[in-house]
């Protein structure tokens, strides 16, 4: 029998249709019912308008969309014969705000989604305080706004650089917010220092501490999440940044990738209309996001965890927590050596002179975000957006399930619903 489950707190709405046999999920399909037509809204517009429109794809990761757009436009400039060389200053500021958006995303997911949902599956005591996530996220947003003017929905990245022209005052304020956020993470989430956490080589080292993260780890074990939620055990990272390594990872081996092999297919959702498309790499499904990024980088903590528990729900959740720590540490250094005398924007010709195609790929909180644009005389002729949730949360047939479908198979409905959320679902991005 097919049963429907409406899902909330996933940046919009989705329904999972479970085929339950002997109280276990035999198969599940996913439908995303709402559609806004962002790509057709963009067509016919001045190409620079995309810097204002695409952040509005998503309220939680709009900054990643802004960066994918600006990269796509800069790539079109290059393909149109005008290569743009960004200053180090503008590259670092862009990367800083992108990472701060990821950090705010992970904090919200941890406190507003994962802890409340996991507490339904464990007898252990998990303190349910969702506003801690909102508070931490708001500090990250302040740091973004120092350069981006506001968060969400900033449009401060433009072809050639950033509109901001900061002084050492803003750089210092950003460092201060960052320190405040690190202190919050240490005191309120970890119960020990960031440095200690980053020195961990395995999750066995949590023993003896008492904190939100330690309780989370214990509760994941208690709910046997280290034995559940396995997908294909292959991962995919596509966005080029100082903090990422572009690769596909099969088990523990890494291989090179090219964005031209990313394709989409219509979703298989027989029970209800879905506007989502599945995203594939060379016609195969891969898992994207923090676990993928940390596997590609080969961080010892994550490699050890993967050796024991593979791509289980446990690994997926703990990798996201670990990524908060590794990103907080990374951004500290990013701000340190910004050369303030460099230009914020490098000079470039009017976009009206550009007739070319461009591709922009970034790592968004949930994985690779791809924007493809075709411009004629500065006007958008075609725009295509492929989001990370399309990789993780596609809906396909039984013969070739997507990562989330595979991860839910054979489990109780309650476990499956939790595992669905371990991928950190973004409904609005999926259907855009």
């Amino acid at each position: 029998m097919i049963t429907k489950q409406l899902l909330e707190q996933i940046e919009g709405e989705a329904s999972v249709y479970f085929d339950i046999q002997n109280e276990k999920v035999a198969f599940a399909t996913v439908s995303f019912p709402h559609f806004r037509g962002m790509e057709s809204i963009l067509e016919g517009k001045n190409a620079l308008d995309s810097l204002v429109i695409t952040p509005r794809v998503c309220g939680i990761c709009g900054h990643a969309h802004l960066m994918a757009t600006v990269r796509a436009l800069e790539n079109a400039y290059k393909n149109g014969g005008y290569e743009i060389n960004l200053t180090q200053k503008s590259q670092k500021i862009r990367e800083f705000t992108l990472l701060m958006e990821m950090i705010q995303n992970h904090f919200k997911w941890l406190y507003m989604v994962i802890i409340p949902e996991l507490s339904k599956l464990t007898t252990l005591n998990l303190e349910n305080r969702p506003l801690k996530g909102a508070f931490a996220a708001s500090i990250a947003a302040k740091a973004i706004a120092l350069f981006g003017g506001q968060w969400p929905h900033s449009s401060y990245m433009v072809p050639g650089g950033v509109t901001a022209d900061p002084t050492h005052i803003e750089l210092l304020q950003a460092q201060n917010y960052l320190q405040e956020l690190i202190m919050f993470f240490e005191k309120e989430s970890l119960g020990f220092s960031l440095e200690t956490f980053l020195s961990f080589e395995s999750c066995k080292e949590f023993g003896g501490f008492d904190s939100d993260i330690v309780s989370l780890e214990a509760a994941l074990m208690d709910a046997q999440m280290h034995q559940k939620g396995f997908a294909y055990d292959r991962f995919f990272v596509m966005g080029e940044h100082g903090f990422s390594k572009v690769a596909k990872v099969k088990s523990t081996r890494t291989f090179g990738v090219e964005s031209k092999y990313i394709t989409t297919q219509a979703a298989y959702a027989p029970q209800a209309q879905s506007f989502a498309k599945n995203a594939l790499y060379k016609n195969a499904y891969y898992e994207t996001g923090p676990l993928a990024r940390l596997m590609a980088k080969g961080r010892p903590f994550v490699k050890n965890m993967h050796r024991r528990y593979k791509d289980s729900a446990y690994s997926r959740v703990m990798a996201r927590v670990y990524e908060i720590a590794s990103m907080l540490s990374y951004v500290q250094n990013l701000l340190k050596d910004i050369e303030i005398t460099q230009d914020s924007v490098t000079p470039l010709v009017d976009i009206k002179k550009i007739s070319a195609e461009g591709v922009g790929v970034v790592e968004a909180p949930r994985g690779p975000l791809v924007h493809r644009v075709k411009i004629e005389d500065g006007i958008i002729k075609k725009y295509e957006i492929i989001t990370p949730t399309q990789f993780n949360i596609g809906s396909s047939s039984l013969e070739k399930p997507t990562p989330v479908q595979m991860a839910m198979q054979g489990l109780s409905k309650e476990d499956a619903l939790f595992i669905f959320r371990t991928f950190d679902v973004c409904s609005v991005c999926t259907t855009h």
């Binding site: 919009g12 309220g59 709009g62 706004a145």
Partner: protein, 301 residues
């Protein structure tokens, strides 16, 4: 149904066609915990609340304050129930209705998804023809893309304190929208002396003449109540896109539309003739201090 005196006002946050940007912007409110403690939250999209959306969509409950986020699409269904039925049900019983953001206020960004049928809840751009015209006395529009968290915090606080919120003709609180985005802009002196920004990425210069800045024509308090408590678009060199106005989003957003090199739109309430006279006089003076860099790191040692 009579409310007991000590009972908290109930809030239901309902979404139409949206990006969730208003939800996430609201979560940035610095006094969020304090504010939320004054209400009973029946439903809020980003957190587990008293009722699930499944219960909300059955339309058997009621709320005191209905907050609507997103564009209204009459054909949209939420959990297989027509949004228009859910909206009508809760609007009828609510004491106050707040449109959170420009989509809910005027149609906004996602009016373009289906321009012939989508709108805000009271206005379709400037025209009062939305689905809730019947309840217009209790509607407050908090336009902006997204909503500024402090604007929502202010409005909810006024309601819980039983204070009257004075509105403009587009149902926006006067205390938030009577001034312009231009007020408090750190580039005002460049505007006064008509010194253009020479491009993006500069502290110096006004963005009104070339870069498309709409701040002198846009009702908002962005440069008075700063974003995320620290900044605003114009302060970091991004033009104002006029996102609080019914015509948002306009097109060619990074360019000032001109007729014979004169800005097509001049500051609100100023006649074109007065503006040109004043601008012409200002331009005849050269203020050396405003023509160079504010700080030249290379020559200062």
């Amino acid at each position: 149904m009579h409310l007991k005196k000590d009972k908290k006002l109930t809030i239901l946050w309902l979404q139409g066609l949206t990006c969730n940007g208003n939800t996430h912007s609201f979560l940035n409110l610095s006094s969020l915990s304090l504010l939320l403690s004054k209400f009973e939250i029946l439903h809020f999209p980003a957190m587990q609340t008293v009722y699930t959306f499944e219960s909300i969509s059955e339309c058997k409950l009621s709320c005191d304050i209905l907050i609507f986020e997103g564009t209204y699409d009459p054909l949209m269904k939420r959990n297989n129930v027509f949004l228009k039925d859910i909206l009508q049900h809760y609007a009828k019983g609510a004491k106050y209705i707040i449109a959170a953001g420009s989509c809910a206020s005027f149609g906004g960004m996602f009016k373009a998804s289906s321009p012939e049928r989508n709108s805000g809840i009271l206005f379709n751009e400037k025209e009062e023809s939305g689905p809730l015209t019947e309840y217009k006395e209790k509607i407050i529009n908090l336009s902006g893309c997204p909503i500024h968290p402090e604007w929502m915090g202010f409005t909810l606080s006024m309601l819980v304190n039983k204070q009257k919120v004075f509105l403009d003709e587009l149902h926006r609180p006067l205390e938030l929208y009577s001034s312009l985005a231009h007020h408090g802009c750190s580039r005002n002196e460049y505007f006064e002396w008509k010194v253009d920004a020479k491009g993006f990425g500069l502290k110096e210069g006004c963005l009104f003449y070339e870069q498309g800045c709409r701040a002198p024509m846009t009702h908002s308090s962005c440069n008075k109540i700063l974003w995320n408590e620290v900044s605003s678009k114009t302060r970091i060199g991004t033009p104002c896109f006029g996102c609080t106005e019914p015509d948002f989003p306009r097109s060619a957003l990074f360019t000032t539309k001109t007729n014979m090199s004169i800005p097509q739109d001049v500051p609100l309430g100023v006649s074109k003739r007065s503006y040109l006279t004043m601008a012409g006089v200002a331009k005849t003076f050269h203020v050396k201090r405003l023509e160079g860099k504010l700080i030249d790191y290379k020559t200062t040692s």
